[in-house]
């Protein structure tokens, strides 16, 4: 591959040293390197997965008296559901995302149905023009005091007044500040909810800095509420479960 070229200039003088210019052809080297780069590019994961931390209570039988009862005014219950067509989650044609519905109520379940529009329907919409929409808006309004403080902390961090570590620490403390009115959210994934629906719900907790939330299975009362909602709105919410396989819930 290496080429030694004699300089072609002029006549050769006798006794003069031959001028040699050495060309090494690097093309095969480049070829090989490119192949290796391609290999590494295809085999690597640049984006690492993220994790969501979750803490579940023990599933041992806890006596009723020992359970801490949340204050009625602070409680919000979210019943999750995912829309299905046949046995696949329904996908929104426009956004390409699965459609999840949230049925929520505040306080303890009102089975007398005396309050109109007690159970309401929302969706995970996220932000629109940087303004929270859908369920995020509702949760945010419930956690206004914490969020105000959180945003001022965020501004301080962005203005480099505090470091990221300090920010994280302060935000955590702020979210758990018992002097502020904070909601207690109960997430109840219905039998047809997909894993994504649950993650979305937990995600909303993190976004809205809600430190007190739990994941429970829907109770009979919830079914009653949903049935009532169905009748009032002429909708079908409670459908047969998609997976017939028995689960030991």
């Amino acid at each position: 591959m290496a080429q030694i070229e004699q300089s072609s200039g002029g006549k050769k003088k006798k006794g003069a040293q031959k001028k040699m210019s050495i060309h090494v052809d690097f093309t095969p080297m480049v070829d090989m390197n490119m192949l290796l780069i391609t290999f590494f590019m295809l085999c690597t994961t640049m984006i690492k997965s993220q994790t969501l931390q979750i803490v579940l209570p023990t599933n041992e039988d806890v006596k009723k008296e020992q359970q801490s009862q949340a204050k009625q005014s602070e409680a919000i219950t979210l019943i999750l559901d995912t829309e299905y067509t046949d046995d696949k989650p329904t996908v929104d044609a426009e956004t390409g995302k699965t459609i999840h519905n949230i049925y929520y109520y505040e306080g303890i379940a009102d089975t007398t149905f005396s309050t109109p529009k007690y159970l309401r329907k929302e969706q995970f919409i996220g932000n629109m023009n940087h303004q929270p929409q859908g369920i995020r808006k509702i949760l945010r309004s419930k956690n206004e005091e914490v969020m105000k403080e959180y945003e001022s902390l965020k501004d301080r961090w962005k203005n480099k007044e505090i470091t990221k570590e300090e920010f994280d620490q302060l935000a955590k403390k702020n979210a758990a500040d018992s002097l502020k009115t904070r909601p207690v959210v109960v997430i109840k994934p219905g039998p047809n909810t997909t894993y994504e629906g649950l993650i979305n719900a937990i995600d909303e907790m993190n976004i809205n800095q809600i430190s007190r939330y739990s994941i429970e299975l829907p109770s009979h009362t919830d079914t009653v509420l949903l049935r009532h909602f169905e009748q009032a709105n002429n909708e079908t919410i409670i459908r047969p479960t998609v997976r017939t396989t028995s689960t030991n819930l």
């Binding site: 690097f26 690597t44 690492k48 969501l52 932000n127 993650i199 979305n200």
Partner: protein, 270 residues
């Protein structure tokens, strides 16, 4: 009249600079790369705004398979909810992935054989060595010897077939930590016991650095809830994932993490 001389230009292009660039790029990729771990099935995790990274070391990944998406099966849900486990230890120390896997296998086997005295499992040294180098596995204890004596390619094919009833760690039944554990719970118990034993062994003959490694391993595995990461597909019904949660709760491993992809807060969720 002088002839017009056409200068003969050499067609050689100097590739040296090009070579320099490619070598630089190559170095970059070699240094930054973490290799994709081979997994028996592909799942698409849902996305969240959480920015916490999955730890590189000392993590137990529980993979939950999704329903078949190829459309080739009549009932795609047959492939759903198969459980796979992988262990990753420290990058390089006495508690490397291989060693940890070996310890966990021994522990799990002893628990299993104690509970199934009539039908104990014996593995040869060769099979144990195979297990130590396997990243992710998902078969019941009874199928373990068969799976480990297969050659590598055949093993991948075997484990990749989600319709096979012999694939997937059994997870049903039992809500009692002291009762007869199912296979998945035995693995969890083995992980817990190994982590705890490593922590208790901190005593003699170890340098401070090794001791630090030990306690890092233990805290990572157990305390911070980063030790166990559940990875499931976004379209998997919650009831299937709930089963895994339920087993973790039964084994008193209430703190764990869920693997997600990253998205921004402004992104619409549906």
């Amino acid at each position: 009249m002088g002839k017009v001389k056409i200068k003969r230009k050499s067609t050689l292009i100097d590739m040296t600079a090009m070579s320099d660039v490619t070598v630089l790029l190559l170095t970059f990729f070699m240094l930054t790369s973490t290799f994709l771990q081979k997994e028996p099935t592909i799942v698409y995790t849902p996305s969240s705004v959480s920015e916490e990274k999955v730890p590189m070391n000392n993590v137990v990944t529980v993979l939950v398979s999704s329903a078949d998406k190829s459309g080739k099966l009549d009932n795609p849900e047959i492939a759903e909810g198969k459980i796979f486990i992988s262990f990753t230890g420290d990058a390089d120390s006495t508690f490397s992935s291989e060693n940890i896997r070996g310890m966990m296998l021994d522990e799990a086997l002893s628990i299993y054989n104690e509970q199934h005295k009539n039908n104990p499992i014996q593995l040869t040294a060769q099979q144990k060595a195979e297990f130590r180098s396997t990243n992710m596995f998902g078969v019941p204890f009874q199928v373990l010897p068969k799976m480990l004596s297969m050659p590598l390619t055949e093993r991948d094919k075997f484990q990749g077939d989600m319709t096979n009833p012999e694939v997937g760690i059994p997870i049903d039944g039992n809500k009692n930590r002291d009762g007869r554990l199912n296979d998945f719970q035995i693995w969890l118990k083995a992980i817990y016991n190994v982590a705890q034993r490593i922590n208790n062994e901190q005593a003699e003959g170890l340098s401070s650095e090794e001791r630090q490694n030990l306690s890092n391993l233990y805290t990572a595995l157990m305390r911070r809830g980063q030790g166990i990461a559940v990875k499931a597909d976004k379209d998997t019904p919650f009831t299937t994932v709930q089963q895994v949660f339920d087993n973790l709760q039964t084994m008193k491993l209430n703190k764990f993490s869920l693997m997600t992809a990253l998205k921004s807060e402004d992104e619409p969720t549906n």
